[in-house]
């Protein structure tokens, strides 16, 4: 077989595809993680017995173990234990969503706790239900508080997606691997791949900063 060792214009499409897969999985797992993580935080807000300590323990376990091991457990372990088929993409979605959820849970909990008890108590005295308090008093303020740490988390989680290349998902890093093996030009390949991740991370950080400014607009100093 002939080896195409030099770069071709088709490689741009490959890189774009890889970036697309990384971004799609990042977006999907962020949304699922947000949903699960905030649900966990709400369970804690209602002080549901049994469930709350269980969630805290599970979140700590996910936060304090390597994502790569979590990925292996889902991709290799689950099929062996439960006799079910797990594709690389499914394993990636399950693992990354769970991992993101654990970190979002922690941010959401501290965001809810950042709101003074007196506010919640006075809202309750006004006759608002616990849900109304959460919806109209806690949520808007907690969101403004959480955007900063959330942006930092998302920049980090984008980088974590690179690990799914190890179980065979053809994301940006996997494309890097393929190009690296074919062209044998590691410096160029990994600089381009790293550059793409860097630019994406910067865009996420920029978006987060803009959103934070908007959410905090009502408390911003408007001048005298």
């Amino acid at each position: 077989m002939m080896r195409y060792t030099s770069f071709t214009s088709y490689d741009f499409i490959l890189l774009a595809q890889g970036l697309g897969v990384s971004l799609a999985l990042f977006a999907v797992t962020t949304l699922i993680g947000l949903l699960i993580g905030t649900t966990w935080a709400i369970v804690r807000f209602y002080r549901v017995p049994v469930l709350t300590p269980l969630i805290t323990f599970f979140a700590e376990l996910l936060k304090n173990s390597p994502v790569l091991v979590q990925l292996f457990l889902v991709f290799f372990g689950l099929p062996a234990l439960a006799k079910i088929n797990v594709t690389p993409v499914e394993a990636a979605v399950i693992t990354l969503s769970g991992n993101t959820a654990a970190f979002i849970y922690v941010i959401a909990v501290s965001a809810i706790e950042s709101i003074g008890r007196d506010q919640i108590e006075s809202a309750r005295v006004f006759g608002l239900t616990r849900w109304q308090v959460l919806r109209h008093v806690v949520a808007p303020q907690a969101m403004a508080f959480a955007v900063g740490p959330l942006t930092g988390l998302l920049v980090n989680q984008l980088q974590v997606t690179s690990l799914i290349s190890v179980i065979g998902v053809v994301d940006l890093t996997k494309i890097g691997n393929i190009l690296n093996l074919r062209t044998l030009k590691p410096f160029i390949v990994w600089t381009i791949v790293g550059g793409l991740y860097y630019v994406t991370a910067k865009l996420i950080a920029l978006g987060g900063a803009r959103l934070e400014k908007r959410l905090r607009a009502h408390t911003a100093w408007k001048g005298l």
């Binding site: 304090n64 372990g77 062996a80 690990l163 890093t173 030009k185 590691p186 991740y197 991370a201």
Partner: protein, 223 residues
Amino acid sequence: MKFDLTILAPHVPFLLKGALLTAEACALALVGSLIIGLLVAALRTSSSPILSRAAFIYVDLFRNIPFIVQLFFFFYGLPEIGIYIDAFTTGVIALSIAGGAFSSDVIRSGILAIDTGILEAAEVSGLSKPVIFRKIVMPIALRTSVRPLGSVFINLVLTSSILSTITLNELTGSAKIVASDTFRPFEVYAVLLIVYASLTYLISLAIGSLHRRLNRDRMPDVA
């Protein structure tokens, strides 16, 4: 298939060997990232705009690029320019460089938190800049940032699992071998998850008590 941990018993010594390699890599990378972190923090807080800019670019780059990409850059790239080192050394270097970026941020905020009065007093006492940095700035900054440096170290331990992708059989790499030998991946990785989590928990406990010990004379809100 039911969950059976006893099949792992004969593989414990092999896994311990892997754990030892993880410990060695992390210990060396800890030293490396502290040295780099101190140096870069010194550059970032220096009065020269060029040096502080260069240090900022280093931190910004290595914090925003996935570790696995950095690792492959060194692992496949270094032989290209004639540097042949083994996977272990490459891993320690990559971990130190990435860890250095994170620790420098922590140390930098430790430096910026130092009361300027202390520095002015040192300057009027006629101490030279390097002496002020080594004897006054560094000890104070390191002491107050033990706890945040600890979380950087914990992250380093978790990140070290990625070294298994460059043929290094540290803890995760050894577990991969055991998983394929025993056909019991669930048991192996479930145990591995617990081991890493307990390990990092113990480290965080140790760091907490070290931080309190070193800062026992300071205000309660710092210690």
